[in-house]
């Protein structure tokens, strides 16, 4: 009796129940963050013109691996010794024309005045804030939780494999892969929106080093590929289970 009760709570049924509670909380979180985003948008649009952007001055924000490989090749070609890190800010330049670089315990911060409200709001939605919020993150939270919620409602211990769930897994992987592509597009937009400030010691303008919080909050492209593989295997599992259904 005790064993049966343990099996009930720690078996598939218990796990499903627990997952539904967690995903339900995530869905509620997406709703709360959406409302909070409306308030923040109003604050940013009507508030002061100051914009604060986190910088990662070790590599440019787009295709950093290519940049590092090229820099390493160039140094090797010129016979220079290998460096630990390439391109960090040597010293923080304070209060030069139009912008300011502030020392942050974790990363340098670029501060400047942006008079256009829609540019400030766009930067906020792209993920240029020190909070978790960005539009892709909210979309991931809302759509991802909704797909997971529907998936968990469909799964029962008696019938775990359905074509609808295989489709939802594929949609989830497409969402993750789509957001990974969007992150690159977002960096192009940041380069267009942020003025071209220059700082000594850096080869590119500072808008090439702006770091969006989506780099920490969104799952990366490998997660999308793993999900896509799981979706394909799951779909095959559904086909096999349906094939075996009428075998006596």
């Amino acid at each position: 009796m005790q064993k049966e009760r343990l099996k009930h709570w720690f078996g598939l049924r218990g796990m499903l129940l627990l997952s539904r509670v967690v995903v339900g909380m995530l869905l509620f979180g997406a709703f709360v963050f959406s409302i909070q985003a409306i308030g923040r948008t109003y604050d940013i649009a009507t508030g002061g013109p100051e914009v604060r952007l986190a910088l990662n001055t070790f590599s440019p924000n787009l295709f950093p691996a290519l940049h590092d490989a090229k820099a390493g090749f160039d140094e090797g070609w010129q016979g220079n010794p290998m460096r630990e890190d390439r391109g960090p800010l040597p010293t923080l330049q304070a209060a030069t024309t139009g912008f300011e670089l502030a020392a942050n315990p974790r990363e340098p911060l670029l501060r400047y005045h942006e008079p256009t409200p829609w540019k400030r709001v766009t930067l906020f939605y792209l993920g240029a804030s020190n909070s978790l919020f960005s539009l892709p993150w909210l979309l991931f939270l809302a759509i991802g939780s909704w797909l997971l919620w529907r998936l968990l409602l469909d799964v029962t211990p008696d019938a775990p494999f359905t074509f609808a769930n295989a489709r939802r897994l594929s949609q989830l992987s497409l969402l993750v892969l789509g957001l990974a592509i969007w992150e690159k597009v977002a960096y192009y937009l940041v380069r267009a929106l942020v003025p071209t400030f220059r700082a000594p010691g850096l080869t590119e303008t500072l808008n090439h080093y702006v770091f969006l919080n989506t780099g920490n909050t969104l799952p990366n492209v490998w997660m999308g590929i793993v999900l896509a593989i799981i979706a394909i295997v799951y779909r095959r599992g559904v086909a096999l289970s349906q094939e075996a259904e009428l075998v006596i």
């Binding site: 094939e243 009428l246 075998v247 006596i248």
Partner: protein
């Protein structure tokens, strides 16, 4: 499907009910009904052997082939 299942004929000959056969063979009544109505897609050799044992018959007594020209076209069940 050109395979005809004559389970009902054999059950009538042996004067046995479907539920009694299900109990003797050890498969569910629902699965045996699927087999009897000809809806099954495949039968395991072990199931066939168990039914033959319970009904004291040969597989040929249970299954027959009744070809339909429509079934012989490629790409059909």
């Amino acid at each position: 499907m050109p395979i005809i299942v004559n389970l009902d004929v054999m059950l009538a000959r042996r004067k046995m009910t479907l539920s009694a056969l299900a109990e003797a063979v050890g498969i569910t009544l629902a699965n045996l009904s699927i087999l009897k109505s000809g809806k099954a897609k495949a039968v395991r050799f072990s199931t066939l052997a168990a039914i033959c044992q319970a009904l004291d018959c040969q597989p040929g007594d249970l299954l027959a082939h009744g070809p339909d020209p429509a079934d012989l076209r490629p790409g059909t069940d």
